[in-house]
Structures are given as C-alpha cells and as structure tokens.
Amino acid sequence: MKYAILGAGPAGVTAAETLRNVDPEASITLVGGEPEPPYSRMALPYFIYGKIDEGGTHLRQDPLHYNRENIRYLTGRCGGIDAQAKRLYMSGGEALEYDKLLIATGANPIMPPIPGAHLEGVETCWTLDDARNILKLAEKGSPVVLVGAGFIGSIILEALYLRGCDITVVELAPRMVARMMDETAGGMLGRWCEAKGVRVLTRTRVASIKQGAEGGPRLSVGLSSGINIPADLVVMAVGVRSNTGFLVGSGVKVNTGIAVDDYLQTTAPDIYAAGDCCEGVDLSTGKPDMLAIQPVAVEHGRIAALNMAGHKHRHRGSLNMNVLDTIGLISSSFGLWQGAQVGETGKLVDEGGYKYMKLEFEGDKLVGAQCVGMTDHVGMLRGLIQTGFRMGEWKDKLLAAPERLREAYISVAQGAPNAGPMAPHVNTPRAGLGHGGASGH
C-alpha cells in the first residue's frame, strides 16, 4: 500500500505515525510545505520570545524519528492532483503515485488588501520563517503594530510584549478574542493589556501603511480613526484561510474548507482530509465546521489514517476549545461558550480581580464554558461537556455558584468520559457506541 500525506503539521504527522502502527509494511510519504522539519505553529510565540530555540518547535524531537519509523519525508508544494490516475504533482513537476492520499495542508494567513501591505516590515506570523523575520525586527523598545486581536493575534501579542516591544493592537471587532469569548471576558483582556502598557484600539481598521519619515521608524500605519502610528514592524494576524488552492479541478469539493464525510473522506475516491484544511464535525452542533485547533488536528489525523488503512472509524465530532495566555492573564473557552439557543447561564464575575467563569447549560447538561483568571482543573469542563453528563441537582448549584465545579465534577462523573482515556482519539459523545480503542493493539 502506498500512502501519501500532504502537510506535515500535527494532523499529517499523527496520520503518518498511525499508518505506520497499523500497516508496518506500507510505503508512507509525508510531504511538508516548508523547507523545515515538521514543527508546531503553536510553539512559534515561545520561540519568538526566546523560551525555546528552533528545535523546541519541532513536533518530534528526535531528528531520526521519521527515518526510524520508515516514513519518507519530503518538502515542497503540491501543484495539483489527478484523482483518477491517483497521482499528485509537486510544483517542481515531479509526480508521486499513491493508493490513498491524505490532505492535511492546514491554512494560510490572510493578507488584507491594505495599501502598503507589501512593504518590508509588514509580516504575518505563521511560519517558522515568519518567526525568524519577526525576531530580527522586534527589538526591545521597537514600536510594533499588531493587526488583529483574535486568538492568534493575542498569542503573538504576548510574545511581542515579552520581547519588550512597544505595542499597539488594532482590531476591527468591538473587543479582543471576539470569536473565543464574550464581551465581559474580552473586555477584561483588553483592560489587562492596557494596564500592561499595550494600546488596544478596537473598532479600528488599518487604512494604509506607508514608508515612515526619514530617520524615524520604517513604517507609518494610518488608521480609520485618522491617526498615524509609527512602526518598525507590522504584524498581520487578521485570520487564516484553508490551504486548498491546488485542489481546483481535482474533484475534491471545497466549501470554506474541504468537505469530508464522517470518515474524513473527501468527495474524491481514496482521498481523505484532516486538520485545519477540512470541515470536520463540531461535537456541539453536529454540523461541519472549521475547528482549527491542535487537539482536533491530532484527532482528525488519527481517525483519517485508520480509515485509510481500512479500519473503519467514524468521527463523531470534536469539541471546540481554546486556552490563551495574554501577558499572564489566562483564559479558556469550551464548546458552546456563546450559550445554547434555549438554555441557562451561571456566572461569576470579578472585574477588579480579573476573574470570570461562565457556564452554559442546555437542559441539565453543561454545553459550554468560559474562564478568565482560573486555570486549576479547567479540563473538567471539557470532561463534563464532551461526555454530556446529566448534572441533575448540580445544575442549580452551579448556576448559583459556578466555582463549585470541582465538587460537581466528582459527584457527577461516576465514570470516565465515554470512550474513555483508552481512546482519546475517537470522541464518542454518547454511551453505548463503544468501538474499540483507536490504538490498533
């Protein structure tokens, strides 16, 4: 069997390893899109502020890992796929034959059409090479404009802050992390950043970027409010788009991301997709969505690989969840954090103390949560939401006092989440649908 995997992020690497486990004889080719060993984008901020070196961003630390697993690792871009001939073409022209193909090409950052966005000193923060560029430009005291205060922007914000940059954040939405948390939480994060000396300009757009005045910072960023901000570096973090351009004409259907069925197979025969490039099912809604987070990429990679190898595994949906450290203020959100259509909400708000906890119920099940300034045992929120435990009498207790989460968890969680720790890769929201450990042993 010849397997090809496009994309060497967590989804691709997990898929390659899973295939090796279940098919020791197979030929496995893993293709990375950048001339680097497989690495984690999530680790880049820590590289930028010097907590780790480049090696620390690698998905697997041992450079011989892929050799030892007999996984052939190539780098280059895919130029197109001939699904009928089961062949893919690299942009250099060489062809690669496959029996089964996994597309795990992730996403690319969006460069907004702002005049001057091409100027030197305007960077995205997406690849290891971007991070190297940012390292050169983000010196202690450098004026930096960060465009976008979503999840990714906010992670970069911390790295720039810890490098000692003088930061202005420009965000179109009325608050920070608008797609991860509500007004209360986003407001707290904004105030926290302001208190740390970061300017946060919400409801603001970048109108243009120009060369700076002679002798001053290299760039001048014109805002919709009319003011201009000098900057040595402008970091663009306005969003990402699934990386699927090479699929045009291949028969693989692409909506916002690649459309997949419950087995992560695309509309083309023997082609599967996993991770940030595809629309897997969101456990909370039962609908396809783009959940571009690390744990989901790993889940997808694992499940897609099992299906490619002929071990049928249905993907029942992944839980959306995020955790963010904004200059020391840690926040997290899970599932339907915006609340259920018809549901009840328990809240604990301490504006001055930067603490917030909000629990969302539907019936007597916990379906979503947000936390700011609390980190201990937050994983319990995932356990309760993902398993769909009935909270019974604990619902009212939690509505009145969300901080009693731990007691509630111990009382309610008489068993492990269904499918259990034995099978973290295959998330079964319901009981009784037991299908073995995804481990293949």
């Binding site: 780790i52 994983g379 731990r406 269904n418 499918a419 034995m422 450990g437």
Partner: protein
C-alpha cells in the same frame, strides 16, 4: 508489575498531608496550591475526596501536546518533560479529568508522575485513603473504580450505583 494509586475516599479525613507531601517532594516547598494531588472538600457534607491523574493508557494530555513534551515511561506513567514543555496549556484543557495544571511560577505544567515509583502522598496518608498497589487494570478501569468509589463516598449514595451509561467504550 504496574502499580497505581488506589484512592478510598471514604477513609479520607481531609488532613491534606498528601498535598503537603506532594508539594514538598516535587516543588521543594509546602504549598498545597502546587500539589499534584488535591483533596476536594465537600463543604456541606463534610466529605473529602483525594484526586489526581490516573495515568490514562492513551492519554489525552499527551495526544494534545504540540511539542511531544509528555511521554510514557516503562511503568505507563505519563511524564511532563520540563525542558520541552513550552507552557502552552493545551494539555490542561485537553485532560477531561482536569489533572494536569499550569504552574505560573515555572511557566510549565505539572501532573502526577507517581514520584518515579514511590509516591509521597501514599506514604504520607495516615488513614490508608491513598495506597500504592499493583494494578492489572488499565487506566480506564482504574478511573472507573476510583470514580465510582469517590462519587459514592461523596454523595452518600449506596454502593454500586454507577450510571447505566458507563459502558466500557474500550477494550477489544
């Protein structure tokens, strides 16, 4: 022979010796906030439940880590490698038991590693609520047994009232 912490919450008096011992052993200080085992206090019921990681067979925390900083040792214990951990906290939201936690003073996460095979908490427990025993069972069964015991202890329900839905989703 694999060994595991077996917790009998009914014997726990809430003295928190285990938390103190854990913190001293692993952090070099008496700071229960940094203990890897925690005793949950059911205020209204005067019940106490010691709680920590049960070393899942295929651990959620480990799968979620972007830089492979959590590995499994020969005893099946899931160990966080401080030199590799970047402190991203993804494991803390991924572990559905909430038993890997962020330590702001180091910028890394901490979880129970059974003290390398000699858990300080079970040594310190004066009542036998925490014991370190041979474990033939997998992590899932360990957790079920543990959870059923502690939940029963915590809620005064009779023995063996696990919900019918807790069918094993694993095992073949």
């Amino acid at each position: 022979m694999l060994k595991a912490l077996v917790i009998d919450a009914g014997k726990c008096t809430g003295c928190k010796q285990c938390e103190m011992a854990c913190s001293l052993e692993n952090e070099g200080e008496f700071n229960v906030a940094k203990s890897r085992i925690r005793v949950f206090d059911f205020h209204t019921e005067a019940r106490f439940v010691p709680y920590t990681c049960t070393q899942c067979a295929e651990a959620w925390c480990q799968q979620a880590c972007p830089v492979n900083a959590i590995t499994t040792d020969s005893m099946g214990v899931k160990i966080v490698h401080d030199n590799l951990c970047v402190g991203c906290k993804v494991c803390t939201i991924a572990c559905p038991f909430g038993t890997v936690n962020y330590n702001a003073s180091t910028g890394k996460v901490i979880k129970c590693d059974l003290c390398g095979g000699k858990p300080a908490c079970s040594d310190a427990c004066p009542t036998g609520a925490i014991t370190f025993q041979d474990a033939e069972q997998g992590g899932f069964d360990k957790m079920k047994v543990w959870a059923a015991q502690s939940a029963n202890a915590a809620t005064h329900e009779g023995p063996n009232t696990p919900k019918a839905s807790q069918a094993s989703g694993s095992g073949h």
